[in-house]
């Protein structure tokens, strides 16, 4: 079965420090990968998505960047964190469109999230 790992679960970083959040998927190949950010109690904002190694689409101009060095690895980074980068970051994966999707998760499976506090 497919699983998605995201770490760390919580992170407190000072303003101006670098950031690296990692997400890996097991049990599938060539997935679509996504990074979302969620403000407190609100919806998910799509930050980046990737349909293949080295292919990154950015949805929102910001202080963050993403990379996909391996098929099942997706990394969210920042060179210098801002206070406004605080939030709950979620990684997700899905099968390629055109493949059969099975319930219950329809292929959009989320990691357990990283709560980032920039101080």
């Amino acid at each position: 079965s497919q699983t998605i790992h995201q770490w760390p679960a919580t992170l407190v970083q000072p303003v101006g420090s670098p950031l690296s959040l990692e997400c890996t998927v097991e049990g599938t190949s060539n997935p679509n990968l996504y990074w979302y950010r969620q403000a407190a109690g609100r919806g998910l904002q799509l930050l980046f998505y990737s349909v293949g190694i080295g292919q990154i689409s950015s949805e929102v101009p910001q202080n963050l960047s993403a990379s996909r060095p391996q098929d099942r690895q997706f990394i969210l980074s920042s060179k210098k964190l801002l206070l406004s980068d605080s939030g709950f970051y979620l990684c997700a994966w899905s099968v390629k469109w055109g493949r059969v999707r099975e319930d219950p998760n329809y292929g959009y499976t989320f990691g357990s999230g990283t709560r980032l506090t920039v101080v």
Binding site: N32, Y34, Y36, G41, R42, G43, L44, Q45, L46, Y49, V51, S57, E59, L90, A92, S94, K96, W97, D103, P104, N105, Y106, Y108, F110, G111, S112, G113
Partner: protein
């Protein structure tokens, strides 16, 4: 730009009440609409609605897609305290393989 709007943003009801959550969308090339429930961390999938499947039901939860009005509703009957959560609506854009979410509705069920 794809857009998903949910209402209300927050709702507080008593146990046993019936609630209706709303979701409207603007998307260039609609593929599907999804509902998720988020209690603490990762959102969990509830329903997927498409042109060929505009109504879904699971227990006390049901959802309908109105493609003319570009909207969907999520109904929860006989609510329980365990239904307290953030409910998220999202749409898939056929032009790009991504899921765009609304702001979510925070539902609180009081005993």
């Amino acid at each position: 730009e794809d857009k998903v709007v949910q209402s209300p943003l927050s709702l507080v009801v008593h146990e046993g009440d019936t609630v209706t959550l709303n979701c409207s969308y603007e998307v260039t090339n609609f593929r599907s609409l999804l509902w998720y429930k988020q209690e603490k961390k990762a959102p969990t999938f509830l329903f997927m609605l498409t042109s060929s499947g505009i109504e879904k039901k699971s227990g006390r939860l049901s959802s309908i897609l109105d493609k003319k009005e570009l909207s969907s509703i999520l109904n929860i009957t006989a609510t329980q305290t365990g239904d307290s959560a953030i409910y998220l609506c999202a749409v898939e854009d056929r032009g790009a393989q991504k899921l765009v979410f609304g702001q979510g509705t925070r539902l609180t069920i009081n005993p």
